[in-house]
Symmetry: C2
Subunit: 633 residues, 2 copies
């Protein structure tokens, strides 16, 4: 028997050697083939032809797909379907004509074409690939996933307002609730915000008016406590968030296309403003324009995304993502472009570059970069733990790959790990629960409730020559301890232009901030939402004095701001703020005249020098007792 085995092993060895030679000759060098060129004869519904071609390509070789310049429609009816857990989106059954799975080297060149999508599609679904380029293409939807109405009358006495709804936005009223009907989708007034059509930007002080108060407490809720949950449940998750609540807004149609809204509790929206609505938070992020996972090397060049039912691009567990002239802007006179962030990177490493791009009118941040905290719920002994995904939109997210360095974090003690381990294996159990095996034994001090964070999955980040404006929410939301440069950009955002957080209680987005250079940017009337926040803000949601942020430089920027507060610093060790110019724009009225320009607390090694202050704050700097000698200069 032993001899037989030996012979077999010898034979196998020879077999593999020869097979290696054979495959090396035949397959190993990817060679470029002739580009595939689609002509406009497929434009009426390009899905079947494009999908069929992509499914039948040789993925090992270089592939080029080109489109004769034109307008191509992509319907979902014959598109490939796949269930996707998408980070910071809903987990949805998506359809695509571009399943870029397991490609080694592929370029899709629209040559100036516009792709118009119909229904619940992800235009580019990219997974487990290398060197993917998409260029020279505009992406839009025939019927957007959001709706826009115009405020035409306000009745302060009866607390109602009227709005017109054009025939671009089909709607129904069901039991007093307004429902907008889309292709294979519908939404209610769940998430709303006002746009100012003159500025084509979020209305000044919209926070006083929106969201519309769609939800109220209900009166009858019986015996829900009789349901005994054995494990933690997510009160903010689907179903649970509805317990004890009911619809509050009632609408009445005055005539076709004209609707009166009752029961709104905030200020009544001003006549002439555009109310944009995208529906309930737990179902309205379903169709990002680009979804990139487990991919090394993505280039988006000369791309215009005019709409998406979610983000412009969501990238997860990928590396080296270069967006150049990659623009999110609205089309067809719409106020809104993408209905969530323009760009979003979770657990990405290598280089992330946003360059020469415009991010306008999307309904969330221009960029969000972070990892994930996952909560240890089972210490399974030896080298295994069970982890729970904290936020419902992180379901199914895999924290990293083999050999990645994982930090064990106890945020009450420190924002930095108390121990480090490397991944041996991640076992998916369900959207909320995974089992992680490490190469090393677990430390004795590990306990349930601690968090894990992937220390290898942060990027070398550059945001350069970009215009970020007219959107809801932040400009850049950065949780990146590695390296970040933000240079030569223009910001005019509704919330903070740049937010550097440590956030563990709601979104479970990991990553403290370090090695950040913010220079030569212009900040024009940011935080015009009405929220009382700085233009640049360092903040943790854990109420302690531990250091979270290190080595920050804010140099040579221009702040031309209608309100006082420019910079909020907390939990920081090492920040230099120099050569910046701060002035008051006068664009809007000052909402928070009591504010200083700068606040500093729970920090050390903070330096101000060579700044010019021409603003209106009565006091430029407010600080705590830790830095008695600190002065604004």
């Amino acid at each position: 028997m032993k001899n037989t085995k030996k012979n077999i092993l010898g034979l196998i060895k020879s077999f593999w050697v020869v097979l290696f030679v054979f495959t090396t000759n035949s397959f190993a060098k990817p060679t470029a083939v002739e580009p595939i060129v689609f002509k406009t004869d497929i434009a009426e519904d390009a899905t079947p032809a494009v999908l069929n071609k992509i499914l039948n390509l040789n993925k090992e070789q270089e592939n080029q797909i080109k489109f004769e310049k034109g307008i191509y429609h992509f319907y979902s009816d014959k598109a490939l379907e796949k269930f996707c857990y998408i980070s910071n989106h809903d987990d949805v059954m998506v359809r695509t004509a571009f399943p870029i799975f397991d490609f080694k080297n592929i370029t899709i060149d629209g040559q100036g074409s516009t792709f118009i999508f119909h229904g619940k599609m992800v235009p580019f679904l990219i997974n487990s690939s290398k060197n993917v380029t998409v260029k020279n293409v505009s992406v839009d939807w025939e019927i957007p996933f959001h709706s826009e109405t115009k405020i035409v009358a306000v009745d302060e006495k009866n607390k109602t307002f009227d709005m017109t709804i054009s025939d671009k936005y089909p709607y129904e009223i069901r039991n007093g609730e307004l429902i907008f009907i889309k292709e294979f989708y519908e939404h209610n007034l769940g998430q709303t915000i006002l746009y100012d059509p003159i500025r084509e930007a979020i209305m000044f002080d919209t926070e006083s008016y929106t969201n519309l108060t769609t939800i109220r407490k209900n009166n009858v809720s019986r015996n829900l406590d009789k349901i005994k949950y054995k494990y933690e449940v997510d009160d903010r998750g689907k179903l649970f968030k509805d317990y004890g609540k009911e619809n509050n807004l009632i609408v009445k149609e005055l005539k076709p296309g004209l609707v009166r809204v009752f029961n709104h509790k905030k200020k009544l929206p001003p006549v002439g403003m555009i109310l944009t609505a995208k529906g309930d938070q737990s179902v309205n992020r379903l169709a990002p324009a680009f979804r990139v996972t487990n991919t090394d090397g993505f280039n988006g060049t000369n791309v215009n995304i005019h709409h998406a039912g979610g983000m412009g691009i969501i990238a997860e567990n990928s590396s080296d993502l270069i967006l150049d002239n990659f623009n999110i802007t609205p089309s067809h006179g719409r106020m809104v472009s993408a209905t969530a962030d323009a760009t979003h990177f979770v657990g990405c490493r290598g280089k992330i570059v946003l360059r020469n791009s415009t991010f306008q009118n999307q309904l969330d941040d221009a960029m969000n970069v972070h990892g994930t905290y996952q909560k240890i719920v089972d210490v399974l002994g030896g080298n295994k733990i069970g982890v729970r995904m904290g936020h419902s939109q992180q379901q199914g997210f895999q924290i990293g790959k083999e050999e990645d360095l994982i930090g064990l974090v106890r945020l009450s003690d420190s924002f930095f790990p108390y121990h480090k381990l490397t991944i041996k294996e991640v076992q998916f159990i369900n959207g909320r629960y995974q089992i992680i095996t490490f190469n090393e034994e677990l430390p004795k001090e590990i306990k349930t409730g601690d968090l894990i964070e992937n220390l290898d999955a942060y990027p070398d980040l550059l945001v350069e020559n970009c215009t970020i404006s007219n959107n809801r929410a932040r400009g850049l939301l950065i949780s990146n301890p590695l390296k970040t440069i933000v240079r030569n950009n223009f910001f005019s955002t509704e919330m903070e232009a740049i937010l550097i957080p440590v956030e563990s209680g709601h979104w479970y987005e990991s990553g403290n901030g370090a090695n950040i250079l913010i220079e030569n940017n212009t900040f024009q009337d940011c935080t015009h939402s009405g929220q009382n926040r700085g233009v640049i803000r360092f903040v943790t949601d854990d109420d302690n004095e531990n250091i979270a942020f290190k080595n920050i430089s804010i140099i040579n920027n221009t702040f031309n701001q209608f309100d006082n507060l420019i910079l909020e610093v907390a939990n920081t060790d090492g920040l230099i703020f120099s050569k910046n110019t701060i002035s008051n724009s006068g664009t809007f009225k000052i909402l928070h005249p009591e504010n200083p320009a700068i606040t500093v607390k729970t920090s050390k090694n903070i330096t101000f020098k060579k700044n010019k202050y021409k603003g209106k704050a009565k006091q430029i700097l407010v600080k705590d007792n830790l830095l008695p000698k600190l002065k604004f200069k």
Copy 2:
């Protein structure tokens, strides 16, 4: 190069030969290992231990899993998650502790245990396996997916009724709509039916009272026609079914646990009856107890299913399924067992046996056996077609496997195929659309709109010694042209005891009926719903005189029936009805005194002999002009 290739091929050949010898010795004979025995120490939540074990078994060998007798809870929180297209159910993300995937030979023996499930779980999810046995186990849910209330008062003047809701059924009222809250699930009054607590069966003539009229037309629906769908859409599918409609029922809580219902349009439900509700049709089939796909050999022996949020067992594309003492019965004083069919077989072949089993109080048929019709929507030329799934609950269903014989059917011409082809490949594109490649060229006469049917995927069916009663809907719904024996059973069903249809317009369930023997059964007060239908019924939904059913024998049965109509025959060639005894039970009042006992139309070769009629019909047989000499004997 040629020589090199030849050498390599030779080497590969030797390699496989030796490998074959090697594997034959080492692996080929599966050997039984020691049974795995779970003890009650895992009973608090058996999911993690059972799942971990099953995921780590050697699937190539025989496996036995036993449970020390006890009550085991299975929570969904740490169960394996998988998106499943489930035929005749919703397509859902399910969780399971028993992922029986790709096993060769596995037995799960509860040894008399009860497994209690929590939340949206499929207790046994079986796929691509051979020889699977599950025995000696009872399945139940801690909190059922349906709700039961008791009618306590009726106000005929104001057209309202009152019902009590026990604390077993947590509920909320949201904007006047009653919502029942479950573990990770909730439902409204969408589908309701009345139970008579004395008979523990569906209330006599419930059709006059239920469903509750939950839906009405809404008043405002604008510009929906502006959405241009390029392809066919399913008006009965999700979203579309809601267009133009709104909630009609309004409920008001009189005191905790006592609710008044307004706006019901049918007869008001009688005091003392139990109203059972399972929610909206498009979301309430989510957790069958057994789901078996692509599996050859399944034995369910001594199994009690007390509840399921869907069917007791749904089997698809499988063969040789033997259910023996496999019972669906309610527990804990509930009226309802499973919320859909007890057993359901789609595209199954080989033997299907239901023996010595009780199917009681489920909310749909005791058994449904059929294939699927899929609609040709694209003739792609050569040997390829694109097909569309007609019903939303058939999404993702694969019509067959390689070499299966597929019939092309044009029902307007014939219920039998006009051409036959064999499958080369089925390509999944999305839930609604697949591309099928045949080994042969397509015939010239093929056109879009024609249907396809798998002629190889029907079973040799035996239903013997079973009790079928107290359920909503039919006893046996059989679309099987191969062979069917129904023998020694007791039926007391709300609709037809045995329905043999050809149905292409709604459910797209394929299969005409042939070679059917129905003998020695007792039919006691069937069709007590109030519907005007026979106890045994042959019917097509295509209005023509083509033959659909052949070679039917109905022999030596006892019909003890409160109403007149026993047998409806249409589109049949060859039916013998002999030695049957028909009497009037007097159990309920006759609802349709004008009916005969038997109707025959569009048929030939029909024989009646040696039957005894002791019923109350004024005319025993009504027939059309095709059989002038036919007489009841």
